[in-house]
Structures are given as structure tokens and as C-alpha cells.
């Protein structure tokens, strides 16, 4: 997938932050457009919502919790070290999750937004990018996200309806992450 047809991070963020079928449709359509694929015809967005909740929200035990801590620690719990890493990253960017501690800071949607901020800061800087910000970006992608996004996406692939919207979005996320990982690889310590 070329740089031009990378999914928009905003749309990925909005998809994982969705609370209902309308949010999901809005975000998924933008993701599909950005990567040049078609949403399966006759998609029932309420059915997509059911699947989204089954995988990521609940109320039943979720096979793919969209939180870094669930995948990064030696055991499957939230609010662990990965959450603190995410929180500290946001703080370094002068940001914070509203009502810290209510929703774990390492929810995928927050992390994608942080990426958006990091990339935006790097892009707007004239001349050579600030080394510290670039290093933070590289670490966040290559270390933090690298620890949890691959197993998370694998869990989604195993559980999501084949050819469905969630599967489509997950592949878009995977493509974006692959690209992001490659583009920051050079900045990571060997």
C-alpha cells in the first residue's frame, strides 16, 4: 500500500472510538475511501455494531480488548505499565486523557490520536525535526505499539467476520502500522 492510499489516522481513531452504528459507518466509509477498497454491499451497520461490541466493548468478555495493557504485560489486565507509558507520552505532548483513570489511557483511539499529534508536530517543524519528538514517535511506534498491536490485530483477524467491515478496518490498521513502523525504523536504536 503506498503512502497515498494510507488510511487516515483520524478515521481509524474515530472507528475505534465509535459508540454506535452511525459512528462506525462514518469512520469506516472514510477508511475505505482512504485505502481504496469498497465497503461490502448491503452492509447492515447495526450488525457491524454488534460485532464491534462483541470484539471490543462487551458486555460479554471481549476477545480483543483495544487496550495496550491487555497485550503488553505478562498477564491480561488493564491499567498496567503500558497504560502509564501512554499517559507519560501524552503528558510529554502536553496532553491528557479527560478524567485520567476513567478510561484506560492506552485505549487504541487515544493512542492513534497521540500519533496524530506526534506526526503533526514533526511535520510542521521547519528544517530538521526535533530529535526528541522524533525519538518519541519512533519509540511509541516501534516499542509501545509494536508490543501490542500485532497480537491485538491477530486476535481480531481470528474473531471478526471474514470480509466484514471490522476485518476491513483491521487490515487498514495493519497496513498503516506497517508503514508507520517502517518509516520510523531508522530512528530506533539498533
Amino acid at each position: 500500500m503506498s503512502e497515498q492510499c494510507m488510511p487516515s489516522i483520524e478515521a481509524l481513531r474515530d472507528f475505534f472510538a465509535a459508540t454506535d452504528a452511525g459512528d462506525l459507518e462514518d469512520a469506516a466509509v472514510r477508511i475505505a475511501e482512504s485505502v481504496g477498497v469498497e465497503i461490502p454491499p448491503h452492509t447492515d451497520w447495526t450488525t457491524v455494531e454488534y460485532e464491534f461490541n462483541r470484539l471490543f466493548v462487551g458486555p460479554a468478555a471481549v476477545p480483543a480488548p483495544p487496550f495496550a495493557s491487555a497485550w503488553s504485560e505478562s498477564d491480561r489486565a488493564l491499567m498496567g505499565r503500558a497504560t502509564s507509558e501512554a499517559r507519560q507520552t501524552y503528558h510529554r505532548l502536553g496532553l491528557a486523557v479527560p478524567g485520567e483513570g476513567v478510561i484506560p489511557d492506552d485505549h487504541l483511539a487515544y493512542e492513534l490520536e497521540a500519533l496524530l499529534v506526534l506526526k503533526s508536530v514533526l511535520a510542521t517543524e521547519a528544517g530538521a525535526p526535533d530529535a526528541e519528538t522524533a525519538a518519541l514517535h519512533a519509540w511509541f511506534v516501534g516499542e509501545h505499539l509494536e508490543r501490542w498491536l500485532p497480537p491485538f490485530m491477530q486476535a481480531v483477524r481470528e474473531q471478526a467476520t471474514e470480509g466484514g467491515v471490522v476485518a476491513l478496518v483491521t487490515e487498514a490498521l495493519a497496513a498503516w502500522f506497517d508503514n508507520e513502523r517502517n518509516s520510523t525504523a531508522a530512528l530506533r536504536p539498533a
Binding site: 459508540t19 454506535d20 452504528a21 447495526t46 455494531e49 454488534y50 461490541n53 462483541r54 466493548v57 462487551g58 458486555p59 460479554a60 468478555a61 471481549v62 476477545p63 480488548p65 487496550f67 495493557s69 491487555a70 498477564d75 491480561r76 489486565a77 488493564l78 491499567m79 498496567g80 497504560t83 502509564s84 499517559r87 478524567g99 485520567e100 483513570g101 476513567v102 478510561i103 484506560p104
Partner: protein, 750 residues
């Protein structure tokens, strides 16, 4: 070389190296510089410390210290200030952070499009309350009352402010309540007939006992903190006898283990009593001065009971019965812990009365280190501010007699022209199916998981299917949630203010809010306030529950001078320094020999008991007749409290799947091998499960631990347990108990 450098301590040496950067001078390849800061040293100053109290239905009701950093619970430990908790928690307690931070928690209000469909959608609290309120108003309009709205709630959260759930129902009007308890009612009534209340010695005084009989309880799993007193008594020379149909971990610590035929406990106790009578070992001072009807009891024993008869019914050799009886009568003091398991029979109340009589006739009632220990509610004298709410003006309710709404109902005595309609909690399915004029159409479930705890699951599912709306308030996705239309996420103990006491020990502990409520969770009283807001928005005056509440203020409203005096504190905030114990005149229940019975004495003959349709004397009552080849026992598991905790990852680590346990001799006859998949079946239903063969269970019995739930497993023992009533319980808890262990089933390899 200077004197200073040669006297460096090891710690200073390391520090010195670091300062000198000496490591950089070495040809290192594998090791990297390390800053020896206090990263590994524990300091309380690094944490905010909160007081919590385990609100589960457990003897131990542990006082907890919660260590929070950056708004996140880092770990918890048992409070050292409580000599009962003594700094330690049980395996379930230590897993509490796994509950609050489980990715599987219920996080948002959600609605299900079709019960058991798994098709869930998120809704806002406002939308959830709107749907619920409109349904309540519809029932009220169509039925002319709110009796079509039912509440089933029990012991999922014993934090006192959680009685606001019952308060919420009252604030809506007169509703239908499922009353009674599946837990301990037969024994409660028995102790009330004998002594006038259920009141037990301080468990900490068990160290003084010279003889301890643990009868149908498994504290090694279900009250780990009490074990230390039993073991200390043993260390001081006491003999420990365990009586249980299963060879438990408690039994493994005993000097004597009896594995009697289940439900023969009354016969066993009476056989011992007869032998003590024959040997003239009765405490005459006690029975003459403090008891009523002993001579009639003695005559009953002489005419109807022999040791051989007891041996025949129980399977315990007569010689052993004589030996233990003599030892028990001789030891001073001697005590019996009457477990709840032994009264879950059709003769459970009668059996408890027989055991009480054994303790009383040997003069062990009212004695420190003695006692017929069952439970108590002496420390529960709160205001029940959250519970006591007024019905809206003009509410119409049920006309007719109503009893207590459970052992924790402290609101009795208020006369009203209308009341709530009450159904037996142990026959929930039948109650729903039988409800008429009006039918039960809507059910609110909180602090309870009926599909795991209520009996005859196949019937319960049918009954739920007749309901028009089911609302569950939960932390995790249970089978009950799967059978609901709306689920509301409720807070864990770390996210709410409340206060807790025990029905066993005498400690009082505060439960502070240690972290912000996660996701969109709310406490039960906050949920009630939300409902009230919406009800009044749609129909002003339709709900009296306060709409804006501060949960800390509501905690404060539960305290009164009586509580302060009993526990010797000036204010509830004193509890922030740690739990406190009641100031007891004696560790012995009934120490002043003033009993709560009509006669004021210990009643071997209880006319009240006879009035209630039972025998006046603690006579033998036969248990339930077998209706299938094996006795089925479904006792508590080590890794859960009823259905709570069993789904957590730490528990699954040790308790990966449920099993049936059966005796190898029986298995051989059925051509069943270890770890085979089997089908257990009876008139109620069936389940499939792997079998483990063990001689820890008696021949002709099938044992499955009560609950297991998690992904990909529909194990549920209530597919096999029916709702047969126990003999007692209606007097004090509003409904009879249930014969959980008076069950039978068959098994085959699949």
C-alpha cells in the same frame, strides 16, 4: 589507603562505584549501567493508601489496605489492624485488582436486541433510564399498581449502602420482592427456636476451645482466616473433628474425619447426645438453671435414639460415635461450628437443632471457647438510610400478610395498608411463572446472579422468557446478563463509599472510594438516583429516591450512636485509621444466660417451633428420599464466591475447567475412566463435564463445585438442582431454605 575507604559498607561501596563511574573503566560487554535508586525499595510514601472492605458473602469480610499510585490500584493487602484479617487475604481477595482492571468488565449501559442473541448496543445512561422508566410507568398505568415490577437481590454486595437497591424499589411504590435466602435460613430458624437468636461466639475465641467439631463447613477454602484459630487451638492441645461428606482440605487438618451419609447429621448428633446422657455427662447445672424442656428431650432420647441407630443411619461406627461424644462432653470448653452446608436439606433445621442440643446439654452454650457457632447479625445495627425510602403518595400495593423480607431486613414493624408482594427467592422460576393479578412483567436484578444461584435452571429460563423486561446491574457478563434486555455497569469496591461488617467476626471496616469509577460505572445508589431523575422527569412525583446524592454523605448517614458506642469510636472517620472490633462484654454469645426465647431460657422444647408446624423437641427428621442413583453435592469452590471471581484470569490459571468428582469404585461400575467426558443427568436436566476420580468423595456421591463460568463453557450445576424446600427458614427470613444438598442424579460416559 585512607581509613575511610577501607571502612565503606557494601551499600556505600556500590554508591561509591557509581559516583566514580568506575563501571565505565571496566571492559563490560553484557552488563549495562544501572542506577541504584530506590526502584526496588518499598515505601508507603509512594502510594495513597485507602481502606477497603471485602463486601462478598463470606464469613471473613476482610479489611483491606489498597495502595494507589497515579490513580491506579497497584496492589492490596489484608489490614494488619484487624486481628482477624491479620494482614492476609484469601486467593479471591488478592485477585481484586484483577476484577477492577479486567478487560472483561461491563463498562457501559447496554441493551440487547433479543435475549441470548449476543447482539448488544451501547446506550447512554439517559437512554437506558428512559427505557426503564417508561416501562415502569407503563406497568403502573396498565396494572394500576407496580406489583408487576420485581426485584431479586441477595448477597453479591453486602456493603450497607447497597440496600439502596431495595430502597429504590420502595421509592417507586409497592413492588414484588423475592424474599428469603438460599444460604442459611433453616439454621437461622433453628437457632432462633433454641436460643432466641442466631448469635455466635467471637471466632477468635476458638483458640480457647479444647475440642472443636467442624460440622459441614470447609474453612480451609471458605473462611481461611478462621483456620488460624482452629490450628492454634490444636497447637494448644485441642482435638479437631471434621464432619463432612467430602474429604476437604479442612478435614485433612483434623485429628478425626467423619464422612457420614449426607443429611444424617441429626441422627449423629442425637446418637452422641444419647451416649452422653447414658454416661451421666450432662451439665446438670446448665440444663436445670438455664434450659427449658431438657427432661422431655432426655426422655425422647431414651425412647427413640440409640448409638447403634445413629451408626446405622450415618455410617459412622458406633464405637467412634461413643468416643467422640465422650471426648466432647469431657472437654471444657468444647465447640461445634455448624456449617451452612449441613442445613441445606429437607431436614436441615431439625439437624441444626439436634447439634445445638448437643452443645447445650454439655454446658457449652454461653461459654468462651464453646458455643454452637453458626453466625450472627449483632454488628449490623446501621441506620439503613439507603434502604428505608417512602413509597410515592397514593401508591397501591399488595393487600395481605407479609413477613420479613430476609434476614437482613431491619425495617419490620411498620404497619401499612399496602405492602410489597413477596415470593420465595428459592423458587424464583416458579414465582415468576405463577404470578397473577398482576403478572410479573419486569425484573430488576442486582447483587445477584440468578442463573448461577437459583434452582432449576431450565425452568428459570422459561420463566425469564415470560418477562417483558429484565434489567441486570452487573460487573461481569453472567448467564443472567445473557438473559437480560438491559445491563447497567456497577462499580467495584474500589470505586464506591460504603461500610461492611461480618456475620461471623466482630470487626467493622470502612470502604473508601480509592479510585474514580471506571468507564461509565455507577454504584447502586447512584443508579437509583439516575432512575429517580428520569422517573420524575417523565412523571413528576413517581419516585421518591433522592436525585442528587453524594455517596460519601450516604455512607455517613448509615452510622448512629449505637454503632459508635458498640465499636468504641467517636466518628466513622476514625475507621480511616483501620478497622475496629466491637467492645464485647464477653467473647461468648449468651454469656449472661439471658436467651431471646419466649421463656428466656435455652429451649430444648420450643413451643414456638411447634406452633410453626415443626416438632417442639429437636427430634430426628428423615432427609429427602433418594430419587436417583447418586447423591449430588454442589458445594462452594475454592476459587470463587458463588459465581464471583471464578471468571478471573488468576482463578482460571488454577481452575481451568470444571470437573465432576466421583469415587473410583462407582466409576468402574459405570465404565468411566479418569478425565472421561460424562453426562450427569436427573429429572431437572443434564450437563456434560469431565470427570476426576477420587476417594475424597464418598461412594455413591457425585460432587461438582458450585460455579464456573468463562468463555466457551456452559457448565451450570443448577441444571441439576431443583427447588425442593428445606424444613425451616420462613420464620426469620421470609421463606424456607432450599435442599441444595438433598439432590440426586445419575451419570454415564459420553
Amino acid at each position: 589507603m585512607s581509613h575511610t575507604s577501607s571502612s565503606l559498607s557494601r551499600r556505600q561501596f556500590l554508591k561509591g562505584l557509581s559516583v566514580a563511574g568506575a563501571a565505565s573503566l571496566l571492559p563490560l560487554r553484557l552488563l549495562m549501567p544501572y542506577s541504584a535508586q530506590a526502584a526496588t525499595a518499598f515505601s508507603e510514601k509512594d502510594f495513597q493508601i485507602f481502606r477497603n472492605a471485602c463486601p462478598r458473602n463470606c464469613y471473613d469480610t476482610c479489611s483491606i489496605k489498597t495502595y494507589v499510585k497515579d490513580g491506579i490500584v497497584q496492589f492490596i493487602e489484608g489490614a494488619q489492624e484487624s486481628t482477624f484479617t491479620a494482614g492476609g487475604l484469601c486467593v479471591k481477595g488478592y485477585a481484586y485488582p484483577r476484577r477492577v482492571y479486567s478487560p472483561d468488565r461491563i463498562k457501559y449501559p447496554m441493551v440487547q436486541d433479543g435475549r441470548r442473541s449476543g447482539n448488544w448496543r451501547r446506550v447512554s445512561w439517559d437512554e437506558a433510564m428512559d427505557r426503564i422508566s417508561r416501562k415502569i410507568l407503563e406497568l403502573k398505568e396498565q396494572d394500576g399498581n407496580l406489583l408487576g415490577l420485581g426485584l431479586t437481590k441477595y448477597s453479591g454486595n453486602f456493603g450497607i449502602t447497597n440496600y439502596g437497591v431495595e430502597g429504590m424499589m420502595s421509592s417507586l411504590g409497592y413492588t414484588t420482592r423475592f424474599v428469603g435466602t438460599p444460604c442459611w435460613p433453616a439454621g437461622i430458624d433453628a437457632q432462633n427456636y433454641d436460643m432466641g437468636d442466631m448469635w455466635c461466639n467471637d471466632p477468635e475465641d476458638m483458640v480457647k476451645s479444647r475440642y472443636v467439631i467442624i460440622w459441614g463447613a470447609n474453612p480451609a477454602w471458605c473462611s481461611v482466616h478462621t483456620m488460624k484459630y482452629i490450628m492454634e487451638a490444636k497447637r494448644r492441645g485441642a482435638k479437631v473433628v471434621v464432619i463432612d461428606p467430602v474429604f476437604t482440605q479442612t478435614a485433612a487438618k483434623a485429628d478425626v474425619f467423619w464422612q457420614p451419609e449426607a443429611s444424617s447429621d441429626g441422627a449423629l448428633a442425637l446418637g452422641m447426645a444419647r451416649h452422653i446422657l447414658d454416661l451421666g455427662m450432662v451439665d446438670q447445672d446448665f440444663v436445670n438453671a438455664n434450659a427449658l424442656g431438657f427432661e422431655e428431650f432426655a426422655a425422647y432420647l431414651r425412647e427413640n435414639v440409640t448409638v447403634e441407630w445413629a451408626a446405622g443411619l450415618s455410617g459412622i461406627p458406633a464405637e467412634q460415635i461413643r468416643e467422640v461424644a465422650e471426648e466432647f462432653a469431657t472437654a471444657d470448653p468444647a465447640t461445634i461450628w455448624i456449617g451452612y452446608g449441613m442445613q441445606r436439606h429437607t431436614n436441615g433445621g431439625a439437624s441444626v437443632r439436634s447439634v445445638d442440643a448437643l452443645v447445650a446439654m454439655t454446658g457449652n452454650v454461653g461459654k468462651e471457647g464453646g458455643g454452637a457457632r453458626y453466625g450472627h447479625l449483632r454488628t449490623w445495627g446501621f441506620n439503613y438510610h439507603a434502604l428505608i425510602q417512602k413509597q410515592p403518595e397514593g401508591s397501591v400495593g399488595f393487600i395481605g400478610a407479609t413477613g420479613p423480607k430476609g434476614e437482613f431486613d431491619f425495617t419490620k414493624g411498620e404497619a401499612a395498608s399496602y405492602s410489597d408482594r413477596t415470593f420465595n427467592i428459592n423458587k424464583t422460576a416458579q414465582g415468576i411463572l405463577d404470578a397473577k393479578d398482576p403478572a410479573l412483567r419486569m425484573l430488576w436484578v442486582s447483587c445477584k446472579n440468578p442463573f448461577a444461584q437459583d434452582f432449576d435452571r431450565p425452568k428459570l429460563e422459561k420463566a425469564f422468557d415470560t418477562l417483558e423486561m429484565v434489567v441486570s446491574v452487573e460487573q461481569f457478563f453472567t448467564e443472567t446478563v445473557a438473559n437480560s434486555d438491559i445491563v447497567l455497569p456497577v462499580t467495584t469496591l474500589f470505586e464506591e463509599w460504603t461500610v461492611n461488617v461480618s456475620y461471623w467476626h466482630y470487626w467493622l471496616g470502612i470502604n473508601e472510594q480509592a479510585i474514580k469509577p471506571m468507564y461509565e460505572t455507577k454504584s447502586n445508589i447512584e443508579i437509583a438516583a439516575e432512575l429517580s431523575k428520569k422517573m420524575n422527569e417523565l412523571a413528576p412525583g413517581s419516585c421518591t429516591f433522592p436525585q442528587d446524592i453524594d455517596t460519601k454523605d450516604w455512607l455517613e448517614k448509615e452510622f448512629n450512636q449505637g454503632i459508635y458506642d458498640y465499636f468504641g469510636i467517636k466518628h466513622w472517620t476514625d475507621l480511616k485509621n483501620g478497622p475496629v472490633k466491637a467492645k464485647l462484654a464477653s467473647t461468648a454469645a449468651w454469656h449472661d444466660m439471658t436467651f431471646g426465647t419466649p421463656s428466656g431460657k435455652y429451649e430444648f422444647r420450643s413451643d414456638l417451633c411447634a406452633e410453626h408446624g415443626h416438632e417442639a423437641l429437636p427430634k430426628y427428621k428423615e432427609g429427602r428420599k433418594p430419587y436417583d442413583e447418586f447423591r449430588l453435592l454442589t458445594p462452594h469452590t475454592q476459587f470463587g464466591l458463588h459465581s464471583q471471581f471464578v471468571n478471573l484470569d488468576w482463578m482460571h490459571e488454577y481452575n481451568k475447567e470444571p470437573f465432576l468428582y466421583m469415587h473410583p469404585d462407582d466409576a468402574r461400575e459405570k465404565n468411566i475412566r479418569d478425565l472421561d467426558m460424562v453426562r450427569v443427568f436427573n429429572k431437572v436436566g443434564e450437563l456434560r463435564v469431565k470427570v476426576k476420580l477420587t476417594r475424597n468423595v464418598a461412594p455413591k456421591s457425585l460432587v461438582m463445585y458450585e460455579a464456573w463460568f468463562g468463555r466457551g463453557n456452559d457448565f451450570n450445576v443448577q441444571n441439576l438442582v431443583d427447588d425442593e424446600a428445606a424444613d425451616m427458614g420462613a420464620y426469620k427470613t421470609g421463606a424456607p431454605g432450599v435442599a441444595i444438598h438433598g439432590q440426586f442424579a445419575n451419570v454415564e460416559r459420553v
